[in-house]
């Protein structure tokens, strides 16, 4: 019976893994094929990888785009995690009626589709450009500013704080730690998995963010990866092999972040803190 259940678990997970990986596999295979073969749906690895690489690196500045995206994504992730976890913690630990109302108001900001905010936001950054060009239109700062504080992450950290053992805070106070000290020295280290999850998601969202960087970044040397990929597919006769190669390369950093962070998801690790 037990063996049966075990086997079922593995089969179930393997089937799920197959469906998850299959399109990814397709993508990798396509990056080694000629464009005409990609459009025909060829599923075998081809011999065109180097040709595609040559074309890709000759036609676009992949390195610059990777660097821009990395800068934006790393800065966004670090800032967003700190700002949002402070707020999520603040809303839950120092809970009051007024703060609950504020929290609910902040949640409202998630509820409007971004496309509706683009024009007013652009006008605002147009104004900022006059006085503070360093964070105005066509700067990386402008690309990340609207994304470093999201109600989504605040909400996430608040819900995680609910699961946090409150006795630890009292213990910290007795030890004479300041309120901020408790947050940084007790809360943060014991919530590693929450931070890991938030880091993966935030990095990924920032890395893939498309609409806002598209409108606010103008110069080619500021281009991020999603914009570059969008350009690659834009010609009347797109080279799908090259596009897929760029996509594969673009996927590596997020997969890597996931890989590095997921070690925190190891079952049964919690005992050490509590």
């Amino acid at each position: 019976m037990k063996v049966f259940k075990r086997a079922f678990t593995y089969i179930f997970l393997s089937v799920a893994a197959f469906f998850s990986i299959f399109p990814f596999f397709w993508m990798v295979v396509s990056s080694t094929n000629k464009s005409v073969d990609v459009t025909k749906g060829r599923l075998l690895p081809g011999s065109h990888l180097f040709e595609n690489m040559k074309n890709l690196f000759e036609t676009v500045n992949m390195g610059q785009a990777l660097l821009n995206s990395a800068m934006i994504a790393i800065a966004t992730t670090v800032l967003a995690l700190i700002i949002a976890s402070l707020a999520g913690y603040g809303f839950e630990i120092y809970r009051s009626r007024k703060k609950d109302i504020l929290f609910n108001i902040l949640l409202l900001s998630m509820m409007i589709p971004f496309a509706a905010l683009m024009v007013p936001l652009y006008r605002m950054f147009g104004g900022i450009s006059q006085t503070l060009p360093i964070i105005g239109i066509d700067t990386l700062a402008a690309a990340l500013l609207p994304t470093i504080t999201t109600a989504f992450l605040i909400f996430f950290f608040r819900q995680n704080t609910k699961m946090f053992a409150k006795e630890l805070i009292e213990a910290g106070r007795i030890d004479g730690l300041s309120e901020l000290g408790i947050f940084f020295k007790i809360f943060m280290p014991s919530m590693k998995t929450a931070y890991a999850a938030a880091a993966i998601i935030t990095f990924m969202n920032s890395w893939n963010n498309y609409l806002w960087p598209l409108v606010v970044l103008q110069s080619p040397e500021k281009q991020t990866i999603p914009l570059l990929i969008s350009n690659l597919g834009s010609s009347y006769s797109p080279d799908y092999g090259v596009s897929f190669l760029a996509i594969v390369i673009a996927t590596i950093p997020t997969a890597l972040v996931f890989f590095l962070m997921q070690r925190h998801f190891v079952a049964g690790m919690m005992g050490s803190v509590k």
Binding site: T39, G136, D138, L227, S235
Partner: protein, 420 residues
């Protein structure tokens, strides 16, 4: 805590530092920027133009590549917000959308009438690029259509290219059925979400979704549109046409040899040539016409033009366009040879490059042929609502396929457009 502080500092520095390098740059008064989308086509054309520019003033052209849809989002966001900050000097806009931009953002585009001569360009390009008698756009590429067809498959089925010259769509369908039976291949593929072929058919009869004023919807009782709908449905029902749901599948169709022909704009040529093994097996003939007396065997699909924005550097940008795309016959010969782009500047067609025989197309002088068809394309005022009306028509096309009467569905579309 220290580690976090350090991380914070680094990330702020990272972003701040990246700005210091090029905060100046833009003060350079010789620099003009241009937005375009295809590196092998219109971007290559701009690069070539910069090389051949020989005007008095010095011009440094900075070309910025963005996908076409992206340019539209960027322009609408920028212009809609009323800030001209970050907008380019020159921008390429598809002809179907031009009126929408010209009318939505008055005073944003610079009048080029003094720089260009309207008679120099194909007739059908003037109407979409002008407003109130002023020329705002420099007509660039042509989407003149052709029936691209595989000669070897025709032969196999007992036909020749001659059989497909000067025919109606019904004749095309009849032969297509026969070829389908003999070879098992579709004649072309269609996309239910993209009514480009309907636009091609309608324009071949000098008709559009709107009346000549570019505003009044002309859907119900539009004979050309009704015919186009009927042909679209017959093509599918008789299994002469297959279905594609993605651009890559359209290309895969003819590249793999499963599809015999394509009715597309001249810009499809590089995609056809991508399958080198089919060299010498293609030719291009005029497209079939509708069974209406006003319909001709020439039409247009897509195509775009250059616009100058009314911001600093506008005279320089206009001067640049005039000197290159607006007057230089030699430049167009190079454009043809090096980029393979067919412009709509009429004097250029007299040049020798247009007489080149293309080995891929069985030695046919395809560019000379396309240029001569271009002059027959009926001029149309596309008006401002091409794509919103088309989305309504896409829905009505579904209803038509589901058995509703063609008059009914067009009437329903008419009502929906009028009610807005």
């Amino acid at each position: 805590m220290r580690r976090i502080g350090l991380l914070l500092l680094i990330s702020i520095l990272l972003v701040a530092c990246s700005e210091t390098s090029d905060t100046k740059g833009n003060n350079d008064s010789n620099e003009i920027t241009a937005w375009a989308w295809d590196p092998k086509f219109n971007i290559a054309a701009l690069e070539l133009a910069e090389k051949s520019y020989d005007g008095e003033e010095e011009v440094e052209l900075k070309i910025i590549e963005n996908a076409q849809d992206d340019i539209i989002s960027k322009l609408n966001t920028g212009l809609g917000s009323g800030t001209m900050k970050g907008m380019p000097n020159i921008v390429l806009i598809e002809d179907y959308r031009a009126q929408s931009f010209l009318q939505s953002y008055p005073d944003v585009f610079y009048d080029l009438s003094d720089y260009l001569n309207a008679e120099d360009f194909a007739d059908y390009k003037i109407e979409p690029t002008s407003l109130d008698g002023k020329m705002y756009g420099l007509p660039f590429d042509t989407g003149v259509t052709g029936l691209f067809i595989r000669t070897d498959i025709l032969e196999e089925a007992g036909y020749t290219v001659e059989d497909f010259k000067d025919i109606t769509w019904d004749e095309y369908i009849e032969m297509g059925k026969d070829i389908r039976e003999k070879t098992g291949k579709h004649m072309l593929t269609l996309d239910f979400n993209d009514l480009g072929i309907i636009r091609v058919m309608a324009q071949s009869a000098g008709k559009w979704y709107l009346e000549e004023d570019g505003v009044t919807p002309d859907l119900a009782n539009n004979e050309a549109l009704k015919e186009s709908f009927r042909i679209f449905k017959t093509l599918i029902d008789e299994d002469v046409a297959g279905i594609h749901t993605d651009w890559s599948q359209l290309l895969a169709g003819f590249n793999s040899g499963d599809v015999v022909s394509a009715v597309q704009g001249s810009w499809i040529i590089p995609s056809i040539k991508a399958e080198e093994s089919q060299s010498g097996k293609w030719e291009v003939v005029p497209i079939p016409r509708l069974n209406l007396k006003e319909s001709v065997s020439a039409s247009n699909l897509g195509g775009s033009s250059f616009y100058v924005l009314n911001i600093d550097g506008k005279e320089k940008a206009a001067e640049f366009l005039k000197n290159t795309f607006g007057s230089n016959v030699e430049f167009y010969q190079d454009l043809m040879r090096e980029v393979g782009a067919v412009g709509t500047f009429l004097p250029a067609a007299e040049g020798e490059a247009y007489q080149t025989e293309d080995a891929f197309f069985s030695g046919q002088k395809i560019y000379a042929d396309l240029a001569s068809w271009m002059e027959q394309v009926p001029p149309i005022n596309y008006g401002i609502h091409t794509y919103s009306i088309e989305d309504i028509l896409i829905v009505e096309m579904q209803n038509y396929f589901n058995g509703q009467d063609v008059d009914k569905v067009l009437e329903s579309a008419q009502k929906q457009v009028e009610s807005r």
